[in-house]
């Protein structure tokens, strides 16, 4: 227990610090110009100097990411539930969900931007991030709803369960582990979607982190680019850990994946 915690937290921390020190020393000793590779200390300074504007940008990106994620969960789970109720609807719609998934989102972004209009760039960002994020939830939940125990299904029928009871008491709980696995993938994808969308579509009036990176790059303000990048990574990590934590909380009592083994 103690050992595994040490291994999980302390060792990566030491590796990280060592890497930063090495980076700092290498940049100073070799005299690498700042516009090629700034030292970590310079990135930190830039982060502090631009703290207000970067935090605002972080908030913009976070807002798009979270909205897209929430809508992806609603859309993905909703559509999967619809599929579980009717094979006909599933047969009719699933292929188009796949088409939406396999078409590179960057290639349809300009189209979306034209359709929603340049006055509503945020809506375009949301749609693009949603397209990227929703498919894993749809496909995982669809699979999960189908993997309910057949004998339990028979038992529910035997006890005269309604369609709604079968869905809420049997199918959705059975699908929960699959759904959460899908959400973990989608959380990261929503962020990627938000960043890609901003690269392609710009930010409109408000400016997200991705746009800050482009902006700083154009001005050769590399420390600021790194600072924005740092915040993006941090955001991704926070999303990942939040969803991992939620998964653990929801499954720890009963699901194989969340159990610690003694041997």
């Amino acid at each position: 227990m103690e050992n595994s915690r040490l291994l999980r937290i302390l060792v990566p921390t030491i590796v990280g610090i060592a890497f930063l020190v090495l980076w700092e020393v290498a940049v100073r000793v070799k005299g690498v110009p700042e516009f090629v590779l700034p030292a970590p200390s310079r990135i930190g300074e830039s982060l502090i100097a631009n703290f207000g504007s970067l935090m605002f940008s972080l908030w913009i990106t976070l807002r798009v990411t979270l909205s897209a994620f929430v809508l992806a969960v609603i859309g993905g789970v909703g559509l999967a539930v619809l599929f579980s109720q009717s094979r006909l609807i599933e047969g009719a719609l699933f292929p188009y969900a796949v088409v939406l998934q396999v078409t590179p989102v960057v290639s349809i972004a300009p189209l979306i931007l034209i359709w929603v209009g340049y006055d509503h760039v945020e809506v375009a960002l949301l749609i693009i991030a949603w397209i990227v994020a929703f498919f894993p939830i749809l496909s995982n939940t669809t699979l999960g709803l189908r993997s309910a125990d057949h004998n339990l299904r028979d038992l529910f029928r035997l006890y005269g369960a309604s369609r709604w009871q079968i869905l809420s008491e049997l199918l959705l709980p059975s699908a929960m582990p699959y759904m959460l696995a899908g959400m973990k993938i989608s959380g990261g994808l929503a962020l990627i979607g938000a960043v890609v969308a901003e690269f392609v579509a710009g930010s409109g009036t408000s400016t997200g982190l991705a746009w800050r990176i482009i902006e700083a790059g154009n001005r050769l303000d590399i420390p600021k680019m790194f600072a924005a990048l740092l915040l993006l990574s941090a955001l991704g990590i926070v999303i990942f850990f939040a969803l991992t934590w939620a998964e653990h909380r929801l499954l720890r009592r009963w699901h194989e994946s969340a159990l610690k083994r003694e041997n």
Partner: protein
Amino acid sequence: MTEMSGTPLIDLQDISKTYDSGTVALQSVSTSIAQGSFVSLLGPSGCGKSTLLRIIAGLVQPSAGTVSWPSTDGARPSDIGFVFQDATLMPWASVFDNVYLPFKLRGQSAKDVGPQIMDALSRVGLADFTKSFPRELSGGMKMRVSIARALVTRPPVLLMDEPFAALDEFTREKLDDDLLALWQSENWTVIFVTHSVYESVYLSERVLVMGARPGRILHDMMIDEPHPRGRAFRATAAYGQRCAEISDALRHDAGGA
């Protein structure tokens, strides 16, 4: 020999089942099950014994023939206890919530039926495990939860589909004894599917020996030994003789296959 003393609970008339693939699972099965009796359906894999049980439960529709319940004007009672080969518990629900399921699906609150749930759990010896999750229990304990769930609504009939087949012998014999004790105290009708000759002789009053291709009833044998039987019964000559008879009947019909 197949005369029955009690009121028939279930009447099966010419039940046949042919699957879409063309497999004939059952052909012209007719029999009746007496109220309060313990009947085993015994036979090799593929003889349609599980299919017959599911037809009785109403989970599978027969291709031909009728299942009627004379004591309830022909209609299947709304309350049937069913136990599967696997415990078939909801892994996300506690032991209490698993046993609560039949009531929950009828819209009864856990508070109202709490005493009945506790009673069912203490009957199977799990009163101290209400908050446990299925994952934390042994195979035998899970099976006990499954039995508690089947008996909690006090159904008139309990259908069991090879319920103890996946358990080790020691646990199986223990559960056999517990099942017999419950059967005697609850005045149930039990239909018990098994492929074990010994288990069928030990438990039942009557064994329906089934054969495969097509699935049908070959022999209808009474095990007219008194209950309660207890462990000592396994050592009696009568028990050995019954087992031998039924084994012979099964082997004969397998046709040396």
